[in-house]
Symmetry: D2
Subunit: 338 residues, 4 copies
Amino acid sequence: MIIVLKQEAKTEDVARIEKTIEEKGLQVHVSKGENQTIMGLIGDTTKVDPESIEVDPAVEKVMHVSELYKLANRAFHPEDSVIDVGGVKIGGGHLAVIAGPCSVESKEQVIEIAKAAKAAGANLLRGGAFKPRTSPYAFQGMGSAGLDILVAAKEATGLPIVSELMDAEYLDEFIEKVDLIQIGARNMQNFDLLKKVGKATKKPILLKRGLSATFQEWIMSAEYIMASGNPNVILCERGVRTFESYTRNTLDLQAVPVIKELTHLPIIIDPSHAGGKWWLVNPMAKAAVAAGCDGLMIEVHNNPEKALCDGPQSLKPAKFEQLMKELKPIADAVGKEI
Amino acid sequence: MIIVLKQEAKTEDVARIEKTIEEKGLQVHVSKGENQTIMGLIGDTTKVDPESIEVDPAVEKVMHVSELYKLANRAFHPEDSVIDVGGVKIGGGHLAVIAGPCSVESKEQVIEIAKAAKAAGANLLRGGAFKPRTSPYAFQGMGSAGLDILVAAKEATGLPIVSELMDAEYLDEFIEKVDLIQIGARNMQNFDLLKKVGKATKKPILLKRGLSATFQEWIMSAEYIMASGNPNVILCERGVRTFESYTRNTLDLQAVPVIKELTHLPIIIDPSHAGGKWWLVNPMAKAAVAAGCDGLMIEVHNNPEKALCDGPQSLKPAKFEQLMKELKPIADAVGKEI
Amino acid sequence: MIIVLKQEAKTEDVARIEKTIEEKGLQVHVSKGENQTIMGLIGDTTKVDPESIEVDPAVEKVMHVSELYKLANRAFHPEDSVIDVGGVKIGGGHLAVIAGPCSVESKEQVIEIAKAAKAAGANLLRGGAFKPRTSPYAFQGMGSAGLDILVAAKEATGLPIVSELMDAEYLDEFIEKVDLIQIGARNMQNFDLLKKVGKATKKPILLKRGLSATFQEWIMSAEYIMASGNPNVILCERGVRTFESYTRNTLDLQAVPVIKELTHLPIIIDPSHAGGKWWLVNPMAKAAVAAGCDGLMIEVHNNPEKALCDGPQSLKPAKFEQLMKELKPIADAVGKEI
Amino acid sequence: MIIVLKQEAKTEDVARIEKTIEEKGLQVHVSKGENQTIMGLIGDTTKVDPESIEVDPAVEKVMHVSELYKLANRAFHPEDSVIDVGGVKIGGGHLAVIAGPCSVESKEQVIEIAKAAKAAGANLLRGGAFKPRTSPYAFQGMGSAGLDILVAAKEATGLPIVSELMDAEYLDEFIEKVDLIQIGARNMQNFDLLKKVGKATKKPILLKRGLSATFQEWIMSAEYIMASGNPNVILCERGVRTFESYTRNTLDLQAVPVIKELTHLPIIIDPSHAGGKWWLVNPMAKAAVAAGCDGLMIEVHNNPEKALCDGPQSLKPAKFEQLMKELKPIADAVGKEI
């Protein structure tokens, strides 16, 4: 941590701040420049709250030198984490493909889609039982009955299942039934929920990036889960909110190399939610694989016209199968097994 | 709702879509233009999911004509809502001032600040007992003990209290102890929490705007609470996330006239969180009052240098007192009682 | 400037970077921490391009300590600049009101509006002769003939005139005819144009903030004009682009105190372009004055229904007159003469 | 175009608006719903300025049905445009690779880089002679002397050259010396410059997307050039401005399929400027090719540590060569010749 003093700061200001820092067991290096004095803190800077320093009238600003996350930080864990989801490895050379409908609508629907997805090469099944909808008047999902349908589809196909947990009330049920518990974009900073999934289970957690979350904030949310006891976090980029409205969100594929640089966690890409249009899914899925992601999450629906949600961004099984074929040479090119 | 068909749409496409709509009990007006055919839906369009139409291969786009919210909509409730918070009216000509520390740190601290705030003219006391922090390693608040301190401060000063609820686990305790239950920006789309505060209580709810929530989404979140049974919602603008980083967030004061145009709910402004710098609070509080807001929420701390959170944006009691004096003529100018 | 080295940086890396810096005549203070080494540069850091350091393989990041602008910087010019625009003072306690139509359409129109604006209390006249339009097929303005109409309106009313210069080709004509030369938001980083208006004239320049320009970039564009020889720059906030689309742009009123903190230049607010709706102008104009701005720029049109551009955001003269009356007590409250 | 009337609109309002529209030679279809009346316009809607309608007191909003661009619109030109740049085809199955330094620094530098780039497979040479820099104190480019160096490099290698034109003053010189004239992101809405390059030449123009330009605005800027007489426009996505600051900008690869859907123009991707970090270039270049772009623009520098600008984002020739090899199988997979 670096403290930049105001031009008018006096010797007694420097001394006062120095004393405050040293009381917390850190050392301070003071550099006096022509216009400005700068203080460098040495030691465990997590003991110092930057805001408590920033408020000193002699301080102009406080700058961070090192990152605030430890458990997710690649600096302290250089090799890639590989996470086992019901027998499927995610991370480290394996490319996972999660496919399925936006929301669970009926047993027949889910099993039909699951079979088609598996036949095309998907290795996990997604489906929303509890749905976050902007409007209280929109379909809110089938709830627990939806989870049971996913379990039946798992039995029918062998595909591990992924579903979104919106409230801790249902956590035990998710731990029992679901293989990869998704925390949605809107709950990325629901810190109580993060702590609870971290404490209650070691089942893998799929943490979606919030609509306007920075990389730092997203990683800090993963750190919440990890610091609470669950190291099995997979990150998922699903588009961020920008000024552009033709596409639902702007897919930030730079997230792939950035997350790999800063953390050791796997990252998967959801091109369906990002663009909101089915014809964007194919090119963006290919781009994501070429960028080096560890997996894809793709909405597949047998009858998008009748889908209760997100029909416009869902692929029909035939188009999904076509995509899987087109992904193969790209995965090969970047050294991923699909 | 308007459906715009693709140029290549044929007569049978029009007929098929018309039939689908009419099956839901709506009427359709078809306009055939030189290049494009347009269908206007007449009747209760909440019965038609626009996504189920958009996915039809003959459809280019679906456009909304009327708003999706009913209970919050000024069109159906033309007069301003005035909400009673522990005896203090918010909305309709009354300007409420909520003041207090970011987080509750000790009984002495809170009571001292509460007395100073009251003396300066504040009429509600704020204080965080449960704190949403980006980092799991930062101070997370005193929890229930913090709520008890707020209750003690209320007894000492008579000021009704405002505090943030982060998880439904503590809802009963909040209903018992707190006068205005705050839902924070990060939980604005925690839909389960919204439903629960709507169902369990009629105590007023202060709903902060999410960091990148549109006006429409914010109002829809209020609608969640209202549709669950609690009509007493107060909206709070606290800055939105933009590309600018010198200020913590960009305070969107256009929210004041926009919310008043679209809804009948009171809106208050939090200039402390928006800018993140104490010297922005005074000018922005004045601007908010001039724009016509129904209240202000201001962080006041007796010792910002030692604050456990948000010190840099807190006013000392003397500066808060000065602000209250400067607000008076502006409130007068816009016809608000302070 | 602070250089943060990577954890793996070695003694020879430190020595190499130290040498590079010292060759440019600066001193370096090196602080070795437990995990990281930090170098503080002392002397004239404008001689060091941070990018040339950042590229060194041993460097993690380079952080700025002081601002890059000199001439606009309040640190070197503590008192407010007051700029004379054709006899009207802008800055330092005077509140200027610039009013007029979006675009010049006819002599009768402009003179009628100018007289009404003057009668209501405006002290400068605006009008677009050259219009930046998103579409090549939209009305592009009357050009030079439009400027002549503004000159005629100035003769008829005595109001100095403000108009937008889009291309250096017309610079001489603007210097001759216009009192305050506007550089529009879309040209804020048209650096050649900035240099040319800085070099060719000392007439005041009204520099609008770009749609997604940071405070720093905006001030640097002012610095371009000032460094080219023209110190008479007035800044104008007109809304920034965000994710919100109900309002055309998000008016950033924090710009007022921020610009006053960082620079000594006057700042005026354009609430008409920001919101794009006439009913937002009144509350936002009041808010801007309460925040401490030095002036307002407001679109007034005698017949918005027939306006060739920006009709929806224009006030009719009667509404403008009403606004002027309502602004008076707010200006009084913040100590500004209107 | 659709006009939505307010609930309180009366029969005479409908009649008045109908008359205004019909006077412009269009037909109107009126649909009266339970709550709202809607008017659909049929005919050449470019004759009606939506703003002139929006301002009518009986109108709630005006919605566009069809796009405002004609010449760039794929609807009227279904096949891909293929543009010849000094003998190199861009668009339609050919993948162009433009490589070179951010700025021209010396003849030796540029020729060395050009040879290395060509050897690695680049087919065009880029280099900035006139540089848009945020600060007036930063290196502004070598100007005309820089262009001459590029011409010399073209003679030495046969690579056509690409350089940025910042001001119409130098247009003739660019037409003479440069094969592909770049309009930079900051000038995307410098409409006079767009008109001038459209009118003066048929040389291909590389139009970069503005930092916060929507797809619609970007295409409209291409339309400006095309409507002025030059159909040879190539679009270039170079990252957009968002809340994220770890990366310089957010690369919007959805631009590739979107531009191909809406227009017939080629689109190339600049991963160097988007991320601002050299290690993001390789994964993003691969992703861009997988998404279906028509070309790449990559900064290559033989000595990034000494580069006068953008060193941190430049690849050394060896890394560029490696990238070109890794791109080959991905280009093959999407059916592009490299």
